[in-house]
Every structure is written in C-alpha cells, then in structure tokens.
Amino acid sequence: MMGLHFIHLFENDFYALFPELFLTCTTMLLLMFGVVWSTSKAQGYPILTHTVAWLCVWSLVCAFGLTIHSPFSVMVSFYNTFVIDELTFLLKAMVICSATAAMLMSMEYLKTSMLNIFEYSILILLSTISMLLLISSYDFISMYLAIEMQSLCFYVLAASKRHSEFSTEAGLKYFLLGAFSSGVLLFGCSLVYGYTGITNFEDIAKCLAGSALFQTHHSFLHLGMCLIMIGFLFKLTAAPFHFWAPDVYEGSPTSVTAFFAITPKIALLGVFLRLLLGSFYDLLFAWQYVLIFCSVCSLFIGAFGAMAQKKIKRLLVYSSIGHVGYLLIGICCGTVEGLQAVLLYLILYVFMTVNVFTIVLSCIDHSNTFRLKYIQDLGLLGQTHPVLAFTFSCTLFSMAGIPPLAGFCSKFYLFFAAMGSSLYGLALFGVLSSVVSCFYYIRLIKIMYFEQPSQLITYGAIDHEKAILLGITSTVIVFFFLCPHSLFLWTYKVAYMFLG
C-alpha cells in the first residue's frame, strides 16, 4: 500500500522530469549492454564504440521528443527542488540538441583516433542528464549535486585519451580547478544558507524582496553571493577566472573540446540566470558591478588573447571567452530585453560553435594521421575545399558580428538591451572589442584563402553526419537574417514569462 501511495504522491513530479528519468534508465541499460557485450568471449570482444554512440544519439532524440511534449508548462516538483518553466524548456531543448550535435560530429573522430571506449558516449549522456537536472534545479542542494555530477563526467572525458599526455594533463588540471571552483561555490551556498536559513531559490527571492529599499548591507549575504558568482564564472570561463580553460580545452580530445565548448555553457548560464535574475534580483546593484567587471575583462582578454594564438583550439577558446563576455553584458542588464538578448545570443552562439567545431573536426587528411592543429594548417583550404572554406568564412564573419549574418542579429539586440539599461560604456566597449576581434577572425579567412602553408595538406572528404550538421548550421547562420521574427518572439516570450 505504501508503495502505491508513494507513486501517487509523486506521479506528476515524475512526469515533469520524465526526459531525465528516461535518459537515466537508458544510460543504465546502455552501460549494462556495453559491459556485458564487450567482455563476451562468444562475441569475440567487440568494440562497441560506434554502436553505443548511435544508441546514445537515438536516446537523446527520444529525450528531445519527451521534452518538447512535456505535459506541464510550469511546475515545481519534488518538494521544491526542481522546476520546469518556459526557460528550462528552451534551455533543455538546446542542451539536448547540442549534445546530439556533439555526438554526431565526434563519430568519425572516435573511429580514426582509436578512442575505443564505449564509455565515452555514456559519459556524454550522463553529463547531459546532469545538465538537464542542473537547468531544472531550484534549490542549492540539487544545483550543487547536479554541477558536481556534471563536472565528474567532464574530468573523465577530458582525460579520456589515456595514451596522450596532454589529455591526462587536461583532465588533472580540470579536476583540480573544477574542484576548487566547486568548493568556492559550495562555500558561497553555505554562507547564504547560514545567513538566511534557506536553500530554495524562490524563498531566497522572497526573503530578499525589498531589501534594496532599506539600504541594509548584509555583508555575509553579499559575500556568499559573490562566491557563488565566482564559482559559476569559473565554470563559464569568464575572465579573470579563465586561466584553466585554454590548457584544458587544448589538451582534451577535440571532440570533447567541442562538447565542452558548446553544451555546458547553456546549462550553467541557465542556472546562473535563474539565480541572479530570480533569487538575487533585489541585489541587482550589488552583483551588476561584478558582472560588468568580468564582462569587460572577458571581452578584453577574448579579443586580445586570441590574437597571439597559433593553435586553432586555443584560438577558439579565447573567442569563446569573448563570447561569454557578451553574454554577461546581457545578464548585467537585468531586464526582459537583457534576458532575451542572452537567450538569443546563446542560441545563435551554439549554432556557430557547432559549425566551427564540425569544420575543425572534419579537417583530417586522407591517411587519418594528420589533424588540423595550427591555424597555419588551414592554408589554401580555399583552393582544396572551396565549399568548406566558404562555410568557415561565413561562420567566422558571423562570429565577428558582420551583418547580415546571424551573429550580427544577436549582437545588435544585445547592445540594444545594454543601451536600454543605460550601460552605455559597456555597450561601447562591446562594440569596439567586436571590431578588435574581427582582426583574428579575418586572419583565419586570410590564411584559408591567401596564404601558402608550410606543408601542403589535403584534407579528406567529410562524412555524412558532419555534412548534415554543417548544412543545417550554415543555413541558419546565413539565412537567419531573412526571417528572425519567430525566434525573437519566442525568446521574448520566455524572457517575459521569467521576469515579467
């Protein structure tokens, strides 16, 4: 009898988190399948990497279907520890799509770099689950646990190329600094809890409501909030907390780097938004300065750091630091437009990053021995792969924010939001740094079209999965300008539901 009651009690809660539950069960099944099958002597110890990877992709597709057909639009479940609303819906859909994209683009990489461990895909699936939970989390405890689960998967993923020194180094570095930032985050949470006695996001917002009016200074509360922010900024690779990122991203296998660059930002930014614009909204003027500082730093380091880079992965890391700076501008605004601009920027950023990393991953020569590593290796891509080079140029121009490509649409709205919140200086800085960042984006284009490489490399053909990914993302990047209306409207709706 008790068991049945239990089921009834949580019936709706289970529905609310159905995609996560589904993915968890699938992960377990796949893990068992992998463990049993790959050690079976009767089958001849098969390498299941490819099979498991495809099964993961299909289960992600199913989870996507479950997410968009969720029976609830707004709900708080499991004793106020998880929430679903329009924002989580959008972010979850993005996380699942980007994880699928990351899986698809790494199929061929897994095969050619002989990363014969089926756990790779399962780890990606597991971290996707934790990110979904992170997006939904509505409580410090659930948030922290989800972050830790995600980070744990990431440490292993970063070190997954076991015979490579760089990869193990990256894993170790990531572990040390990730553990440190988690510690900072946890300390912040405990300070906030110590001051208010609350761990629930909504309750914190209620507790702080109107505190700005009374001009009271809760120094410990502010300290706690700052530490939480620092923890998140660490994980988001915002300057000045970005030092670990270039090494980790460079050392990790490229497919993992792609996954790192695309997916976790969505989830972390989602919960960061929920915390700042939801729970700590009444302390806007306290956290705004921290974010403005970080945003300026990120823009500066993103723009100037990337200029000195010779390796393509490091360059992309610095460019992503710059993009985080732009995203922070949107959060600083603290308005519906600001939130909308962040979401819009995030969506288009995901498209562009997927595109770029797909291109980076598809540059492998015929004999599968040489991969794109230095930016000079892109030399004469314009002659050997004209279509690929053209796609890459479009994406780079879009990242630089040149109209009429998609990157411009997101940037101008971001600046508009910043102007709306009277952050004129920040908007000006953002605009100028976008010009500076043009330097290195155009440099890549210059290398592709006009420079002779030191050694002539002809890259092989692109496989189906990547071709499809490239097709979809470049279509969005080039033609988004023609009908941006529906996406603008959707993000506005989400932002308005969240803040309005």
């Binding site: 009429p404 155009i442 506005y492």
Partner: protein, 488 residues
C-alpha cells in the same frame, strides 16, 4: 508593380541560377550574369521614366515585415535623391562584369556571384527607408568587396589593403550602430519616415551626429580617415576600383544627405565648420598629394578624395544649389572616376604596370584610347561642358552664399585639379614613346570601345543638359532643406 523589390531580388535570382551552373561553363555564367545586370539596368531606367518629379514623397514604397514585433520593418522606397544612385549602380555593375570578361581568369563563377550580390546590397542601401536595415546593408557591402579585393586583386599587398578597407570602415560604422540603437530606444522605431517627424534633444543630436559622422566620414573618405582608399584602389582589380569609386564612396555622402542632415538639423549646423575645415584640407591636401604620386591608380584615388571634399562642402552649404550640386557631382564622379579607372585598367591589361614613368607617347600607338582618356581627364578637371563642371559650379554657388572664404578656398581645388589632371595626361599620352619599357601597343578593342562610349555620352549629356538630372531632385532636395529649417 513592385519595381524596387524586383530590382533587389533579380540579381539574387541571377546569382542563384549561376550558383547552380558548374563552374567550367564559363560562357553561360558570364552571359547570364551580364543579362541579369542589364535587365536590372533597363528596369532602373524605367523607374526613372515613371518617376514623379512633382512630389517629395517616397515613391514605389513597399513594406516587408522583418521584425514587426519590434517595429523594425523593411520599408523600401526612393525619392529624387536616391533615384540616380540606383540608376548609377545598375549601370556600373554590367560594366564591371564586362571589364572582367576576358582578363579575369580564375574563379569566374565566384566573380559574377560577388558582383551580383554586391549589386543587391548596394541597391538595398539606396532604397532602404529603415535605419537599422540601412546599416545592415551598408555594412554587408563590405563582405563581397573584401572578397573582390582579396581574391582578384593584383599584388601580394592586396591582403593588407583588404584588411585595411574592412577594419577602417567597420570601426567607423559600429559607432553608428550604437547611435541607431539609441535612436530606436528613444523613438521606438527605426522607420525613417517616423524618425523625420521626431525630435532629438540638442545634446543627443550632437552625440548621434558624431557617431553617424564616424561612419560616413570613413566611407566618404574625409581626409584624416582616407588612408584605406588609395591602398584599396591600388590593390583592387579594375572592376573593384570602379565599384569603389563609383558607388561605395557615395554611400558616405548619401548617408550624410539622407540621415545626418534631415535628422539632426541643429547638430548639422553646429558641425558645419568642422565639415568645411576637413573638406578644405581634404581638397587642398589631396590635390597636392596627387601631384607627387607615381602610380596611376593612386592619382585617381587621391583625386577622388579631393572631389568628395567638394561634395561634402556642397552638402553642408545647406541650400538647394549646394546640395543639388553635390548630388550632381557625386553622379558625375561616379562616371568620371569609374571611366578613368577603366582607362587605367585598359593600360594595365596591356602592359601590366601602373607606374607613370614607364608610359609616354601613347597617342602614337593608341589614338582612340587617347581620345577617351582626354574626355575623361577633362571631366576630372571639370572643364565646362562636362558633368563635373555643373556639379562643382553649383556647389561653389551654394557655398558662396553661406561662406565666401570657403567657396574661394574650394575654388583653388579646381585649379589644382587642372594641374594634376593635365599633367597626368601629358605624361602618359604625349611626349615620346618609351619602347624600352612598352614594347607592344594595341588600341582599344571593340569591347572596351563600347564600354567607354556610354561613359562619354553620359558625361557630355550631364555637362550640356543637366536639367534632366536636376528636375527629379528639386522637390526632394528642397524638402530636405526645408525640413531641417535651414532656410532662415
């Protein structure tokens, strides 16, 4: 009849068709590109014929929803100010395609694609009545132009030139983006027709004007910001130079006339001395610099800077004569400078050098060419009877009413213009042949001849009977002047 959207979309349709043709079918690609641009030109001429001279309202207005929720929509329409730029653009694009008919040997498909896309962007700039979308197309002109300079340029330095061109113009225009957002923030729309009836506080006007100025002054280019122009001109292929001189330089002055002057009248008056000073310095400095150049293209590039100085003076004389003269000079410069670049391209195709010291006595071997070159040189020094004369004369008349000194100083530009133009012609065409350097000489062939003829006709027509060009402008220009209450 949606004339304007036809004009905008037709090159894209052509580009799409070309994109589907395999790149080894060179003949078909070229023919389709040329036919597309010629049909566009004919439609644009039709537009001129049915244009109603008696109203200052925007004509052929169309409305396309872009971001209706945010009040940003693509309004397109033209008035007497933009009409001729559209005609000029559609005229120059087929010329560019014809110029590259034989001597562009690599990436012909992409060449045609780039020019057709460029045509759409430029036309969109001239007929867009929405500030934000104007900015979008104003900027997106950079992309095909960057490729044109970078891919089909002549020397190793072209990369540097493309870089400079791109970054200079970008830095200028991002400030304009912020200004546009500020305007949108205040008014709630970027529709020009609404903006024209809204007012900005004086302080804000100054800021906005400066931001717009940063963008337009780089594009014009006004003197301290002109560094990119000679570089880009020298390195660009002939067709690129033609577009650069013919259309892109006009984008800046067009922007002044379309946006800065009517939207920010107080600021325009306030900054008029700045414009005058910069323009005068530009005219004198650029003219003198022209005298000591050794590269043919650089000479024309610097003389363009000088002429654009005239244009900005005319625009900011803020009376009907000056502004109409400025528009006419822009048009005339579009013909004359383009034609001069074509001449230089003709020489370069034969000799593969642009340094003056290798040339001399061309009249002996290329009489027809010398004739065309003479007409265009006379156009460049604004001899009475050529189009530039009418423009410069009107500008000086207009400026004389507001500032005598400026008019006097600007008039020295005409003398200096005579100096460098005639000296250039003298060195290249007369004197002795230099067979040591130039061994082969063949006069213009049929293709080149028929490219030059329309330019000669246009220049003389505008010189002898400018009324046809001035009539459609009158009402629109007076409207701009009266709108800003510039007439006291």
């Amino acid at each position: 009849m949606p004339f304007l959207s036809f004009l905008l979309l037709f090159p894209l349709v052509g580009a799409l068709v070309i994109a589907c043709i395999p790149s080894w079918k060179v003949r078909a690609i070229k023919t389709i590109a040329l036919c597309t641009s010629l049909i566009n030109f004919i439609v644009a001429c039709g537009l001129w014929l049915v244009f109603d001279n008696s109203t200052a309202k925007f004509q052929f207005v169309e409305h396309i929803g872009w971001l209706p929720f945010f009040n940003m929509n693509a309004y397109i329409g033209i008035d007497g100010i933009s009409l001729f730029f559209i005609v000029l653009t559609t005229f120059l694009v087929p010329v560019c395609l014809l110029v590259g008919w034989v001597n562009i040997s690599k990436h012909i498909k992409e060449y045609c694609l780039a020019f057709l896309v460029l045509e759409t962007c430029m036309l969109a700039v001239f007929c867009m009545l929405d500030l934000l979308l104007f900015y979008v197309f104003f900027e997106s002109v950079l992309l095909p132009m960057f490729l044109i300079i970078g891919v089909w340029g002549s020397r190793a330095r072209k990369i540097r030139a493309a870089y400079q061109f791109f970054l200079y113009t970008l830095i200028g225009s991002v400030l304009m983006l912020l200004a546009i957002l500020l305007i949108y923030f205040q008014v709630g729309t970027t529709d020009l027709q609404v903006l024209l009836v809204s007012e900005f506080s004086e302080r804000r006007q100054l800021l906005l004007w400066l931001a717009f100025f940063a963008s337009f002054a780089v594009k014009v280019p006004m003197v301290p910001l002109h560094i990119w122009l000679p570089e880009a001109h020298v390195e660009a292929p002939t067709a690129g130079s033609v577009i650069l001189a013919g259309i892109l330089l006009k984008l800046g002055t067009y922007g002044f006339l379309r946006f800065s002057i009517p939207l920010f009248p107080e600021a325009s008056l306030y900054f008029t001395p700045l414009i005058y000073t910069m323009s005068i310095i530009g005219i004198v400095y650029a003219s003198l610099t022209t005298l000591r150049q050794i590269d043919l293209k650089k000479i024309i590039a610097y003389s363009s800077v000088a002429h654009m100085g005239f244009v900005t003076i005319g625009l900011f004389s803020l009376n009907v004569q000056g502004v109409e003269g400025a528009i006419l000079l822009m048009l005339s410069h579009g013909f004359v400078a383009s034609a001069l670049f074509l001449c230089i391209g003709t020489l370069y195709d034969r000799t593969h050098t642009r340094l003056i010291q290798y040339y001399g006595g061309l009249v002996h071997v290329m009489p027809l060419f010398s004739f065309f070159f003479l007409v265009f040189t006379m156009g460049n020094l604004s001899l009475p009877g050529t189009s530039s004369f009418v423009g410069e004369f009107l500008i000086l008349v207009g400026t004389f009413q507001t500032n005598t000194w400026i008019a006097t100083l600007a008039a020295t530009g005409m003398i200096l213009g005579g100096a460098y133009s005639i000296w250039l012609y003298n060195r290249v065409v007369f004197g002795n042949l230099k067979p040591l350097y130039i061994s082969m000489g063949s006069d213009v062939n049929r293709r080149e001849f028929w490219i030059f003829v329309p330019f000669v006709l246009a220049i003389l027509w505008m010189g002898f009977y400018p009324q046809v060009f001035l009539d459609p402008m009158h009402v629109s220009v007076s409207n701009v002047i009266q709108h800003g209450a510039y007439i006291s």
